[in-house]
């Protein structure tokens, strides 16, 4: 079957007409359908990756987009296929459905590059393009660079890649070339970093910082994860060369996690560690305070990245330091 952009767009157009008609005829209380598009959102996934659809559905509520799902088929020889559909929801207490348009393009690895020419005609005009490459296979595919070139920002997750440090070095090179990238492995650290920033607002911690000579990032499982590399690099960048930042492996029979951050002077230490599930505790002398670390699903992480559609100098500096062997 030949897949053409105009056919898909025509299908979308027909879909809107149909949805509007159904709503108008369906219920007297209905206030119709609201078509919402704030960007083109490209999502690169492997065939069978159902959790990606869930994340996409969540994202559409907050960032209604023309979503184009690029599916890498299991059968590498599968030819390109495409369809258009809409996802709708009724916000609580409202009478109007909100609908987002979706296009799905799938192809095997041998034909995946064919998607590039189709995409040119499918982008929503005049709006930003974001590419979330959730598939590590697609990241390694020759089509990746072409897809990334369409996007104003590319989001990947280095921890799902076979060699995360290589991915981070790739991001470093791309950032230096002026392209925008986000890494969800870094995004997951925001809660830790925010807690550190909050703690060092205390007057006694500001004084403490002047004599700090060591910081520790304790983690539970080997090999040392990229998150630890990022966090250490960020601390080095924030604290400067006079503070030694040490990743320390502390084995523990729990799912992988960063266990504790410790800031040490010759006389005292300040720490942030995990308490019960979803809570961390900060300790300064005999004072303890708690913060919520709610479980962050991918949609929440991507949402944070979508809120930054420009340069992110702190991330760029961290990536640069984390890339250094």
């Amino acid at each position: 079957m030949i897949v053409r952009p105009e056919t898909l767009l025509k299908d979308l157009s027909g879909l809107w007409t149909q949805l509007g008609k159904e709503e108008t005829e369906g219920s007297e209380r209905s206030a119709g359908v609201l078509r919402a598009v704030t960007m083109t959102f490209l999502l690169g996934v492997d065939e069978g990756d159902d959790s990606a659809n869930e994340a996409l559905a969540q994202l559409m509520h907050e960032h209604p987009s023309r979503a184009i799902v690029l599916k890498l088929a299991k059968d590498s020889s599968a030819e390109i296929d495409g369809r258009a559909f809409a996802t709708c929801w009724m916000p609580f207490g409202r009478r109007q459905q909100i609908c987002c348009e979706q296009i799905e393009l799938s192809a095997g690895a041998d034909h995946f590059t064919d998607t590039l020419s189709l995409l040119r005609g499918l982008m929503a005009p005049d709006l930003p393009v974001v590419f979330w490459c959730r598939s590590a296979k697609l990241f390694a595919h020759p089509a990746f660079q072409g897809l990334a070139a369409f996007a104003d920002k590319v989001i990947i997750d280095s921890r799902s890649h076979p060699e995360p440090i290589k991915t981070v070095r790739f991001i470093d090179a791309e950032l230096k070339a002026g392209r925008l990238y986000g890494d969800l492995t870094w995004t997951r650290l925001t809660r830790w970093r925010e807690t550190v920033a909050t703690l060092f607002e205390r007057m006694d911690c500001k004084e403490f910082m002047e004599s700090m000579n060591r910081a520790e990032v304790q983690y539970t499982h080997l090999p040392e994860p990229m998150a630890v590399g990022y966090l250490s690099a960020w601390l080095r960048s924030a604290l400067g060369d006079h503070v030694a930042v040490q990743p320390i492996h502390v084995p523990e029979d729990v799912p992988w996690q960063i266990r504790e951050l410790k800031f040490v002077t010759p006389q005292a230490e300040v720490s942030i560690d995990r308490a019960e599930k979803g809570i961390v505790e900060s300790h300064v002398r005999d004072f303890t305070t708690r913060s919520v670390f709610e479980v962050l699903d991918e949609a929440r992480l991507v949402r944070e990245e979508l809120s930054i559609l420009g340069q992110d100098p702190i991330f760029a500096r961290t990536v640069e330091l984390a890339s250094i062997p």
């Binding site: 509520h61 909050t198 607002e201 205390r202 604290l239 004072f287 708690r290 919520v292």
Partner: protein
């Protein structure tokens, strides 16, 4: 730039997380009241949940009721659980948050009460590392504002020897008229400097009111049209479907003009009409708002009846419910002259707005709860379509403050049915809820965070308060000296007929929101 942003914390990441608030305490006067339980504590808890509050953040509540710290914490827990909106309640976080909540029972007219507060704040500073920073929140009867502030000064609580900041937040009303507002200010500024006084007008904290500034000054296409040449008139409506809901005694003395127009709606009007500030910082933005408020034409005594309408609702049957009139409400005098509805035509005497009427109306027991601003553009100069029979409906831009926050633009489109060039108005809608599905912070979350961070952009300044009193005072005086034949509108309607006539005299009609 706020003090929090000034501090050199190398861990800041303003792109990723909110500005850091320095460690501090909030001391709430009237902590046993409705505002504290319904708004302030839920807002502060929510800020803690979102990690926007600093480690060691503390709350001290004060009221006359005898309670232990523990009893007060429990009371606050119950109210936070009940009134927190669109947010989960985390018991473990509450446990930590509650450790920073303290209570002092005492009479605010007794100096000993303030001595106890000083001891408590010093103890908190020592144990919880607040650096002496404290925000005093006056959620008491307005008649106590000045004396509480004077007591704070006398007890040495308005200054901190170690350099910590001390600020005071005052709820409206800021006086009952111009003279009392000036007197209140004189007494408060004798203790706190203007930069440490935060006069809260929660309308300015509403996300959609702030969005008016973004809409006007973040886009280029509307601003060239934003003047007398293209805009015919503006209608600001703040309607409530409920009555006085047990606040009859208070409302009887206040009335709609004082309660809504003098503060909230004039601030909203100023936001819609002010000039662009040169910077987005608190003084520059407030300078522009104040300048606009000073430009509002002051009505002469003989102009009031033509430009202001006073109304009071009478009993009616709405649906299958019999609704009492205002005079039948609890604690309301049977001959009360209170305005439960007020509509005023304002004019702004500057080059941009000269001659453009701003119709502002508010009322209780109107058909629905809605606040919006409708900007009606001039009609097309020539009727080319619809066989020339009717002038096409003019373009209308509606900024919806609540509910269904958003922006709509009405324009003309060719009707495909029926053939020929028949035009029909259609609407282009932006809906906050659908374009930004994220939770919108409550006005109190926004404003408390601003006060803690030292940002007064969304707070009113004394010159703004005085300018808005000047604008409504001739109306108040005229109304006070006239006896009205009330009620003059039925509950559940859009107000008295005189309000329609006020617009008809200029060839305009109220839109139905």
């Amino acid at each position: 730039m706020t003090q929090a942003q000034d501090s050199a914390n190398p861990f800041h990441d303003p792109l990723r997380f909110e500005r850091r608030i320095p460690p501090c305490s909030v001391l709430i006067f009237g902590a046993n009241g409705d505002l504290t339980m319904r708004k302030l504590l839920p807002a502060l808890y929510r800020l803690a949940y979102e990690r926007k509050l600093p480690a060691g953040f503390s709350i001290v509540g004060n009221s006359r009721t005898a309670m232990t710290h523990e009893q007060f914490r429990e009371k606050m827990r119950v109210s936070v659980e009940k009134f927190i909106e669109n947010s989960p309640f985390d018991a473990s976080l509450w446990e930590d948050f509650a450790r920073g909540i303290f209570y002092i029972a005492g009479d605010i007219s007794d100096p000993a009460c303030y001595a106890t507060m000083k001891v408590q704040l010093d103890e908190i500073e020592r144990d919880r590392g607040t650096g002496g920073n404290a925000l005093f929140y006056l959620s008491t009867q307005p008649s106590f504002y000045a004396s509480v502030v004077e007591h704070l000064g006398a007890a040495g609580l308005s200054r901190h020897e170690g350099g910590g900041w001390r600020r005071v937040v005052i709820e409206k009303p800021f006086g009952r008229d111009l003279a009392s507002a000036q007197e209140l200010n004189r007494r408060i500024t004798a203790v706190f400097s203007e930069r440490d006084i935060y006069r809260i007008d929660h309308y300015l904290g509403k996300e959609t009111v702030q969005n008016v500034l973004a809409f006007r000054f973040g886009n280029t296409i509307f601003e060239p049209l934003w003047n007398r040449r293209y805009i015919s008139h503006v209608q600001v409506t703040a309607a409530e479907s409920i009555g006085v809901e047990g606040r009859g005694a208070y409302y009887q003395e206040a009335g709609a003009l004082r309660d809504m127009i003098q503060n909230h709606l004039l601030q909203v009007m100023a936001t819609v009409t002010m000039e662009a500030p040169s910077h987005f910082d608190s003084d520059t933005v407030r300078d522009e708002r104040a300048k606009l408020l000073r430009s509002i034409r002051i009505l002469k005594e003989d102009e009031v009846d033509l430009n202001a309408v006073k109304g009071q609702y009478g009993p009616a049957r709405i649906g299958n419910e019999d609704v009492p009139g205002f005079r039948q409400e609890k604690d309301v005098k049977p001959d009360a002259q209170t305005d439960t509805f007020a509509a005023v035509t304002f004019f702004v005497d500057n080059w941009r707005w000269a001659g453009v009427p701003f119709y502002v109306r508010t009322g209780k027991r109107l058909p629905k709860r809605v606040t919006d601003i409708a900007i009606r553009f001039q009609p097309a100069p020539l009727s080319l379509f619809n066989s020339g029979a009717t002038v096409p409906a003019p373009n209308l831009l509606i900024l919806r403050i609540q509910p269904d926050e958003g922006i709509s633009l009405r324009f003309q489109s060719k009707d495909p049915a029926g053939g020929g060039m028949m035009l029909r108005p259609v609407s282009m809608d932006f809906n906050y809820g659908s374009s930004f599905g994220t939770r919108t912070p409550s006005a109190y979350e926004t404003l408390l965070l601003d006060a803690l961070g030292g940002d007064s952009t969304l707070y009113t300044r004394q010159d703004m308060v005085e300018a808005s009193w000047r604008a409504v005072e001739p109306i108040l005086n005229h109304w006070n000296n006239t006896t009205y034949n009330f009620p003059n509108y039925d509950a559940g309607t859009w107000g008295p007929k005189a309000a329609d006539e006020m617009l008809e005299r200029r060839g305009h009609v109220w839109r139905v929101p």
